[in-house]
């Protein structure tokens, strides 16, 4: 025989369970309704239209091993990293065109990200290790292709930037590296055009390093060294 007080206690617990279930169910329904109402009434934020500015693309040509500047008007965001990625994407679109003078498949999606970091030791920029060709001066009889490109960006309205140099880390996709034509000239032109384009549009960028899918890689397509830092103003002799 079950004592009376246990029957009463069990009944109260059962009743409390039922009440709590009902309350929980109602709370869930209210939350669901709030969610639906929130979705319906969420204001649709109009996409911010980036102002169009003039961007300088330093385009390579395989036929004469040259780099030539092209000025294009592009909608570019203010964020320097995003701006750098979009400008490089446009450069890669030019290379992916059927009649490109420097054909490289892949297009804008070849550049996954561009990270901008302060140069670790700006003071050492002037006196670098022998592998750093910043101090390398081409022979006087070999004019530099970089000399044919504008030294400053052609983007009116841009705020003057402080002189502190930046390191750009360009993260390329493995698909781009795998499909890049193999050869010293073509690989070198790709890297130098990227460096020159970055410097032309973001003058604070003084050095460029390359990653492929976020990882260091020995060469781009079997030749040009990707393990070192490239100077943004690296030179190419005129053919």
């Amino acid at each position: 025989m079950i004592p009376r007080y246990q029957v009463v206690l069990l009944s109260l617990l059962l009743l409390a369970s039922v009440v709590m279930s009902v309350v929980l169910w109602q709370l869930r329904e209210r939350a669901h309704q709030r969610l639906l109402v929130g979705q319906d009434s969420a204001p649709t934020q109009a996409p911010e239209v980036a102002p169009t500015v003039q961007a300088t693309l330093v385009v390579a040509s395989d036929s004469d091993n040259s780099l030539l500047a092209q000025v294009q008007t592009l909608p570019l965001p203010q964020d320097p990293g995003t701006r750098a990625r979009i400008v490089l994407g446009k450069l890669m679109d030019i290379y992916a065109a059927p009649d490109a003078a420097h054909p490289v498949p892949g297009g804008a999606s070849s550049v996954a990200q561009v990270f901008l970091l302060p140069v670790p030791n700006p003071a050492s920029n002037e006196v670098a290790d022998p592998a750093d060709p910043k101090a390398a001066k081409p022979p006087s009889d070999q004019p530099r292709a970089a000399d044919r490109t504008p030294a400053t960006p052609a983007s009116p309205g841009k705020n003057p930037e402080p002189a502190s140099p930046q390191l750009a880390v360009v993260n390329l996709t493995s698909a781009f590296a795998a499909s890049h034509p193999s050869g010293i000239e073509t690989e070198t032109l790709t890297l130098l055009s990227i460096c020159a384009t970055l410097h032309a549009n973001l003058p604070r960028i003084s050095q460029v390093r390359f990653l492929v899918d976020g990882q260091p890689r020995a060469t781009l397509a079997g030749h040009a060294d990707l393990t070192r830092s490239y100077l943004a103003t690296e030179a190419v002799p005129r053919p």
Binding site: D62, S63, D64, N65, A128, D129, P130, A131, D132, P133, K134, A135, A136, P138, P139, Q142, P181, S182, G183, I184, E185, T186, T188, A218, T219, A221, G222, H223, A224, D225, T227, R228, Y230, E234, A235, V236, P237, P239
Partner: protein, 193 residues
């Protein structure tokens, strides 16, 4: 002289045409150039004489042990035209008793530029189109000798049409003859390392 035909073995290099790999063109050209040099009495050391894999560091080791008057790193490519000559883009540095492996070429860059100038003159005299450039190649950057990377591309006319393919024996012979003449001149001028 040291001849370094690039790639080899598992490393095919660039794809040239339908069934050709850069490693084969580089090796064939190296053998042709070697014959011409030895016929002129110039001793030659090759980093590879068959289709084998040779690591980058091993190539530089061979070149550095040879104490060579000139080191040519041989490549082939379908892009561009004529012959591309590349010198390391490292800044010239004073020779040191112990040079860092990855930057050994820095002390030789000035001589390498002079060697490239000699090769350029000979190729132009032979009617070739030549482009000069600076680049970063791991093998060349570790060489302690006057070193130039020679990349042979198809010969094209003014309309960009190919007039001589990479595997054309006559084209290879003309390039090799010009380079051999240039290296003979370089050697006779006594530009010792």
């Amino acid at each position: 002289m040291v001849l370094d035909p690039a790639h080899g073995g598992d490393d095919l290099g660039g794809r040239l045409g339908d069934n050709q790999a850069e490693k084969d063109i580089a090796l064939a050209f190296s053998m042709r150039l070697r014959s011409l040099l030895e016929a002129r009495g110039i001793p030659v050391v090759s980093t590879r004489e068959s289709d084998v894999t040779v690591e980058w560091n091993r190539r530089a080791e061979v070149a550095n042990h040879a104490n060579a008057q000139a080191c040519l790193n041989l490549h082939a490519s379908e892009s561009g035209s004529g012959v591309h000559l590349f010198v390391s883009n490292m800044a010239p540095a004073e020779p040191m008793r112990f040079a860092a492996w990855k930057t050994a070429q820095a002390a030789w860059v000035t001589r390498s530029l002079a060697l490239a100038g000699t090769l350029n003159s000979a190729l132009l005299q032979a009617g070739m189109s030549v482009t000069l450039g600076r680049t970063a190649l791991p093998v060349v950057d570790s060489m302690a000798c006057p070193a130039v990377a020679v990349e042979i591309a198809p010969e094209r006319d003014h309309d960009k049409k190919v007039t001589a393919q990479l595997d054309d024996p006559d084209y290879q012979a003309r390039v090799a003859e010009a380079l051999a003449a240039a290296l003979l001149s370089w050697r006779s001028e006594g530009r010792q390392p």
